[in-house]
């Protein structure tokens, strides 16, 4: 399988604190890598290093086997896009959806100025938001819709890698479900390569092909999804899995099917 992105022994320190300790990780093309771990384990720091928001203190990140320099070119920035946890904070409240989407399209010269409107509408259709939403502002949408707009913006520049940092943890459970379904659909449609970060193992199970577990800045396990969920390698993964609250089994007489 073709490699999309390689993280080679990356380390990050915040003052005396080691946030990432010699992390090496491969992302394959058209695969979803799920990254799990407790808060403070360095998941988000890793995402930020890959997106180029933090310069690592050691190691390097290569995209399509080319190392990404400290100062990335516009093209390199375009290749990796990120969706953040909180859509309220990642969308400019004073910009309409049209402005939010067209800014990225124009900056990266994806389409001509004349084509921008058409492309914006296509993007909104892709994330199931009505065209009339173009001239509305983020506060007029619900949390789930806002996250969809953030997804549309990330996809607008046709990135080769999409990083989703806890995209559903600020959402209600039923909305979470619909956003995850959108991710699965887009993944199949656009052949996305994705790094999906979550602390919710249910979410990871739903979306990932491979699972990586982080703890205190180290990578403790990297396995295919089925293997990880059925038979995790390390004691820590087992602890994580067994801490997930589970639903009671449906009774045999009940009308419930799961």
């Amino acid at each position: 399988m073709e490699l999309a992105l390689q993280v080679k022994s990356v380390s990050v320190h915040y003052g005396g604190f080691t946030a990432l300790d010699d992390i090496s990780l491969d992302l394959h093309q058209h695969q979803v890598l799920g990254l799990v771990g407790e808060s403070g384990s360095g998941k988000s720091t890793l995402a930020r290093v890959i997106a180029g928001l933090i310069t690592p203190d050691g190691g390097e990140v290569t995209l399509d086997s080319l190392p990404l320099p400290k100062k990335r070119s516009r093209e390199q920035r375009k290749q990796i896009q990120m969706i953040f946890q909180n859509p309220d904070a990642s969308l400019n409240p004073k910009h309409s959806v049209r402005q939010i989407l067209s800014e990225a399209l124009l900056f990266h010269r994806i389409v001509d100025r004349a084509q921008v409107e058409k492309r914006c509408k296509e993007l909104l259709a892709k994330v199931h938001i009505e065209e009339s939403g173009l001239d509305r502002f983020p506060h007029e949408f619900s949390g789930g819709q806002r996250q969809r707009i953030a997804i549309a913006r990330a996809l607008s520049v046709e990135p080769s890698l999409l990083i989703a940092d806890e995209p559903t943890s600020a959402l209600d459970v039923s909305v979470q479900r619909s956003v995850l379904e959108l991710f699965s659909k887009l993944k199949a449609e656009l052949n996305l390569t994705m790094l999906f970060i979550s602390h919710d193992l249910g979410v990871i199970h739903e979306i990932s092909d491979t699972v990586a577990v982080m703890r205190q800045g180290r990578l403790v396990e990297l396995n295919p999804k089925d293997r990880f969920f059925a038979n995790p390698e390390t004691a820590y993964s087992l602890e994580l899995l067994s801490a997930v609250p589970r639903m009671p089994k449906p009774s045999t007489s009940g009308g419930l099917t799961t």
């Binding site: 407790e38 193992l201 249910g202 969920f229 801490a243 997930v244 639903m247 009671p248």
Partner: protein, 254 residues
């Protein structure tokens, strides 16, 4: 009152000043030592119901009808532990203040009770020597302090408003186990608000499912979850993402 109820809510309605109904004719009863779960999505009125029980309605929301009968002290644990602690006051001091005020004891005795409570909740011993600010504690530790503060009021009813939503799964498990153990030890009743049905299943004996300010289904937790009557309950259950069972191990929860 039906059986030995410690709290009875009857036809409770809450509305804004402009008569917009937020909670509509909600009724339930809670027995001594029981745990009642309120589940539903955000905006379904779970937290407002809880705040009405505590008598701490937000500005602009008023009780429009119904009665809340309770003969016990109630205390609340909030969702965001950092937000409910004073960031500029060390935690032992905060807890001591509550103990002193609620239990009417001397400063010195209050500190002793506070430290006892913290030990009961499993905070590190080092806190007895060097008091720490909330920002110097982890989220789970902060939540333990908040629970200690709630217990300092010697509540007959503990109201928990999504106490574990902001926490990691492993910490969530510890906190829930701690709360359950304390409940057995101290015998308080509990109203537990959550949107996670799996958490509700692990903690509550009775369950009320709320939607748009109304209770759409209520009953024993197992009955409701194994045989849901309302499509909304079924929808909530379906949205709990399954994690497959581990190979060669039994069920760990329940």
């Amino acid at each position: 009152m039906p059986y030995n109820a410690i709290l009875e809510v009857k036809d409770l309605s809450l509305a804004t000043k402009h008569d917009q109904k937020l909670v509509n004719r909600v009724s339930f009863a809670l027995g001594r030592g029981e745990t009642l779960g309120l589940v539903g999505e955000s905006g379904s009125g779970k937290s407002l119901t809880l705040r009405a029980i505590l008598g701490l309605l937000p500005r602009g929301v008023e009780k429009a009808g119904g009665i809340i009968k309770s003969d016990a002290v109630s205390a609340m644990v909030f969702q965001d532990p950092r937000g409910s602690l004073d960031p500029l006051c060390p935690v032992v001091k905060q807890l001591t203040e509550v103990v002193r005020f609620r239990q009417q004891v001397s400063k010195k005795a209050a500190r002793g009770i506070a430290l006892e409570l913290l030990e009961m909740l499993g905070l590190p011993d080092s806190i007895k020597i060097a008091d720490r600010y909330p920002s110097q504690l982890s989220g789970g530790q902060c939540q333990r302090v908040v629970i200690a503060i709630a217990l300092a009021c010697k509540p007959g009813i503990l109201l928990c408003d999504e106490p574990t939503t902001a926490l990691d799964v492993t910490v969530q498990k510890q906190i829930i186990e701690k709360i359950s153990a304390l409940q057995k030890e101290l015998g308080f009743a509990m109203v537990f608000v959550t949107h996670n049905l799996a958490v509700a299943a692990a903690t509550c004996s009775k369950l009320c499912v709320m939607k748009n300010g109304e209770i759409v289904e209520q009953g024993d937790t197992l009955d409701v979850l194994q045989n849901p009557q309302n499509p909304y309950t079924q929808m909530l259950m379906d949205s709990v993402l399954p994690v497959p069972e581990l190979e060669g191990s039994g069920r760990i929860w329940n």
